[in-house]
């Protein structure tokens, strides 16, 4: 009896590249999307739309090392498009609204430092949250973030500095004894 051929034998190199791309970056994309929009379901939709758009223009990706920033750029555009279409308020998270209570928060850490940090992060204004996410989750430098956001590197550095200051301020407001080592 002949052994069955591997499933991947009939898969095109383009499809294999896309599978690898999706498996390598979907986690980071989801987390970035979640912290961008604050909603689990919407974050999943954003990841799916992002990867489907990536599939359509996969041939334009020449360098595997550029995949993550490329995908983050697509995701940001998808988010902006959704925002324009549905009038989603991406800054609402910091405007005194109740933070979404969904699966992403339902962990044993909910009442620990991580939960406080998450809550503070969700309240951070969008203009500070986005560059901070690009730096912490996206692994981008100030220059790369500046290029991504169409801003000057100096302005991005200021936003990152203030983002951490505000996080510190919010956390110290909740628990004054917390020392985070921020300047």
């Amino acid at each position: 009896m002949r052994a069955a051929a591997p499933v991947s034998a009939g898969v095109s190199p383009r499809q294999r590249q896309f599978d690898a791309l999706a498996r390598a970056h979907s986690t980071d994309l989801y987390r970035f999307a979640y912290w961008l929009c604050g909603q689990q379901a919407l974050a999943q939709d954003l990841v799916q739309e992002t990867l489907l758009r990536a599939w359509k223009s996969l041939d334009s990706l020449k360098d595997a090392a550029a995949a993550k920033p490329w995908l983050l750029t697509i995701l940001r555009r998808e988010h902006a498009r959704l925002y324009e279409r549905k009038r989603l308020d991406v800054v609402e998270l910091d405007a005194g609204h109740e933070v979404a209570e969904d699966g992403a928060w339902a962990s044993p850490e909910r009442h620990g430092d991580a939960a406080e940090l998450r809550e503070a992060m969700s309240k951070l204004p969008h203009k500070y949250r986005e560059p901070l996410l690009l730096q912490v989750l996206g692994g981008m430098s100030c220059e790369e973030i500046a290029a991504e956001l169409g801003q000057q590197p100096g302005a991005v550095m200021t936003q990152l500095f203030r983002a951490r200051q505000k996080l510190k301020s919010m956390l110290q407001g909740d628990r004054p004894e917390v020392q985070l080592g921020l300047p």
């Binding site: 499809q15 896309f18 599978d19 999706a22 498996r23 979907s26 986690t27 989801y30 987390r31 979640y34 912290w35 689990q40 999943q44 990841v47 799916q48 990867l51 489907l52 599939w55 699966g103 992403a104 928060w105 962990s107 430092d113 991580a114 939960a115 940090l117 998450r118 992060m121 996410l133 730096q135 912490v136 989750l137 430098s141 100030c142 991005v156 550095m157 200021t158 990152l160 500095f161 951490r164 200051q165 996080l167 020392q179 985070l180 080592g181 921020l182 300047p183």
Partner: protein, 255 residues
């Protein structure tokens, strides 16, 4: 780098590996402590941001992509099939139209006329000049030049919609069927080949000469055309005949 600049950089880029940044950290105890605290905070921040990812997310995305791709593939195949069918239909219609047009062309009509007249090519006995002139007169035509010799057959034959004078000329023992089609005007001389028949269309002053033969060897079209041009168009037509012969040669040699 001073402490203020270090703290600003630390707040914006806590993972900076810039040499002046790290050098200041190494010589300033206060900033080194702040750096340690900042690294700890960054670890906490990264940990906090790493929320759980819904189970099966990537599989759902890949399923959606594969499904969409199959749907697009099916649509592409339908479009390709429709295009291929349209192309075949266009080729079929074009071929049918070409066949219809070609079937009514002068070469096709002349060749189609020959089976009924095939025996005339075997005639070897020359007929008289009077008989030839009578054949043209039957079509209301008068010859303007000398009647060619070695003409073995003349008859007024209908060829498709054309009322022709059908002749057979013999040159060096080779018979050539000649159809003179009055009032059928062509712009230029043209050779053709249909089945076993080789032929030539030659425009004359007031009509067209069609020559045909299925005999092997070089067909004496030039000589036959020259004789009939002189007979039909007149004596002065010889120079034109020579020019046409050159044109015919150029036409035959053209790729």
């Amino acid at each position: 780098m001073d402490c203020l600049e270090f703290r600003r950089r630390l707040g914006a880029e806590p993972h900076s590996r810039a040499s002046d940044f790290l050098a200041h950290r190494d010589i300033c105890a206060g900033c080194a402590a702040a750096w340690q605290q900042a690294q700890s905070f960054e670890r906490d921040l990264l940990g906090a941001l790493q929320i759980d990812v819904p189970a099966g997310l990537v599989d759902r995305v890949l399923l959606a992509q594969a499904t969409a791709e199959r749907r697009h593939g099916a649509r592409r195949r339908r479009v390709a099939f429709a295009l291929a069918a349209s192309l075949l239909l266009a080729i079929g219609i074009g071929g049918y139209a070409w066949h219809r047009v070609d079937a009514t062309s002068l070469p096709a009509l002349a060749v189609a006329h020959m089976p009924n007249e095939y025996a005339t090519l075997a005639l070897a006995q020359p007929i008289s000049a009077q008989a030839i002139e009578a054949g043209f007169a039957g079509r209301g035509l008068a010859l303007a030049g000398p009647v060619p010799t070695d003409v073995t057959y003349v008859h007024d034959c209908p060829v498709g919609p054309y009322k022709t004078v059908h002749l057979v000329s013999r040159v060096d023992g080779m018979s050539v069927a000649v159809l003179y089609v009055p009032d059928k005007m062509l712009s230029k001389q043209r050779d053709f080949h249909r089945g076993d028949w080789r032929g030539r269309l030659v425009p004359l002053a007031r009509g067209t000469l069609v020559m045909l033969t299925d005999r092997t060897g070089a067909p004496p079209f030039d000589a036959v055309a020259r004789d009939w041009r002189m007979a039909i168009d007149g004596v002065g037509a010889e120079q034109t005949a020579q020019a046409d012969a050159v044109a015919s040669e150029v036409w035959r040699l053209a790729p």
